[in-house]
Amino acid sequence: MKSKDRNYFKVLRAGINTTYQDLGRNNLHHIGIPFSGAMDKRNFQLLNSILQNDDNSPVIEFAYQGPHLKYFGKNIFFCISGNVSFKIITKDGAINGNCYQSYLLKNGDEVDIHSTNKSVYGYFSINGTFGVDYYWGSCSINTQAQIGPNNGNKFSKDLEIEIIDINNSFNKRKLDHLGGTIENIRVIKGTNYDYFSKSSQNEFFKESFKITKLSDRMGMRLQGPKIENIVDPNIKSEGLVKGVIQITSAGDPIIMLSDHGTIGGYPKIATVISADYDRLVQLTPGSNIKFKDVSLEDAETLYKLYQMETNNLISQIK
């Protein structure tokens, strides 16, 4: 490719945990390959909808602090979803940007993504396609298993992000949306619920649990009253799904997130419902959460409502 035809971002600062993500890898658990994919699926979906990209287009996910990028190439638009502070730096000066709104970038312009606000993950993409390699049908980077483009590693300084396709018919689009957080996480009782003492079962739903710093794309470790196991601290290892809450031998809950190992041997006290997963992953270390018990039927209905809400947001994009 001649350099004058190239369109790319140069990474001036990588941010804390910046990776490519899409909808993830299906049907590979049996060989030990995790699901991965964007942590917050709603924000992933909204971003691709605003930018009029395909549903499974790659986006750049960042946590806490995002990347600082310098653009080289012909005019493009970008957009950021989540609750994120960022600046657009052009030769005329710097302006603060709003999430869920597309902005024009010209050759030499920069985007400096300072931080996510009261949330963990944010998403960045363009009206086009990043040049990424696919591994088992997905470009999601899993840094723990070292699977995905960039040799399965998170972004680092001086990386060049290639753009292989730009949608020239795109025009400015935006969505008025603030997003929201939750404190009560709704769960369904787990398959090993009766491994725990009555008083611990009660405490699990009555007391608050604090999200610790030992939280990442694989799991979220919580601290609160110790959960007392009265049967066996281990089970015969079996499959896991995202949202499963296991109780470790030390009596602490750990919630499985998108990059979780495929099997595990701790008893499962509960599972977070699908409708609450996107908002769960956005809770920052130090926040307190409470668990609320719901039935399977309610969880299925709540998920339908959640999807309707997402579709409703998508229909409001102008």
Partner: protein, 224 residues
């Protein structure tokens, strides 16, 4: 053959084949796994077979618990065991640099290292499942007198290729990863090949494994 199907959260079936760990129960799990995999049902996100469970996670936009449970319960699984069983031979070097826990194993089992290794290499092992990290096989069963608990404090890093034992099982560390199994050797063979997109695992559920012992020179030769 499935004893019971429960829900694991709101988007997965928890198929329970029993509470024991043995090859008969596990063969049923594997049979269901391959059968359902072959059906290629729309909206299935993952099939996760283990010793005696099969987790089926699905897209909530396409399935609900009751409808999918119904479908799985009514599957006709052929009883004749048509799943092909591969015999895979894997070289292991038990040089002192690789047999990280051989002294601990000697002390716990009250056997000399040569006897331990002789017993270990004299058996074929069955692959119950693969996972935890990509490609890691869970194999069994070890002879009764070869069984011991995992390390009290797991290693932060177990070298790639390490062959370990715990309780009735042995495994191979396909990646450098934390782990608590008792390490008695190391294989130079690549267990997980990420450049092989269609079949990256050397060992798959239902396969039979024959370990054979090699010298450090042979190890280095294969590694080269």
């Amino acid at each position: 053959m499935i004893k019971n199907i429960l829900n694991l959260g709101d988007a997965a079936l928890y198929c329970d084949f029993g509470s024991d760990v043995n090859q008969e129960i596990n063969s049923n799990v594997i049979k269901y796994f391959y059968h359902i995999k072959k059906l290629n049902l729309k909206g299935i996100i993952n099939l996760t077979p283990s010793y005696n469970k099969l987790i089926i996670s699905y897209d909530l936009n396409i399935h609900s618990f009751l409808s999918l449970k119904n479908k799985i319960e009514n599957l006709e699984i052929e009883d004749n065991n048509k799943t092909k069983k591969n015999l895979i031979k894997i070289p292991v070097c038990c040089d002192n640099n690789f047999a990280l826990d051989i002294e601990r194993i000697e002390n716990k089992l009250k056997l000399k290292s040569e006897i331990i290794l002789e017993k270990f290499f004299s058996k074929n092992y069955f692959c119950y499942m693969t996972g935890f990290v990509a490609g890691m096989p869970f194999l069994g069963d070890l002879n009764q007198e070869m069984r011991l608990k995992r390390l009290e404090t797991p290693r932060v890093k177990v070298p790639k290729g390490s062959v370990g034992i715990t309780e009735q099982f042995c495994n191979i560390y396909s990646f450098e990863t934390p782990g608590g199994w008792n390490i008695l050797g190391n294989t130079p063979q690549n267990i997980f090949d990420s450049s092989n997109q269609s079949n990256p695992n050397l060992v798959n559920p239902g396969d039979t494994i024959k370990f054979y012992r090699i010298t450090i020179d042979q190890y280095n030769e294969i590694k080269r």
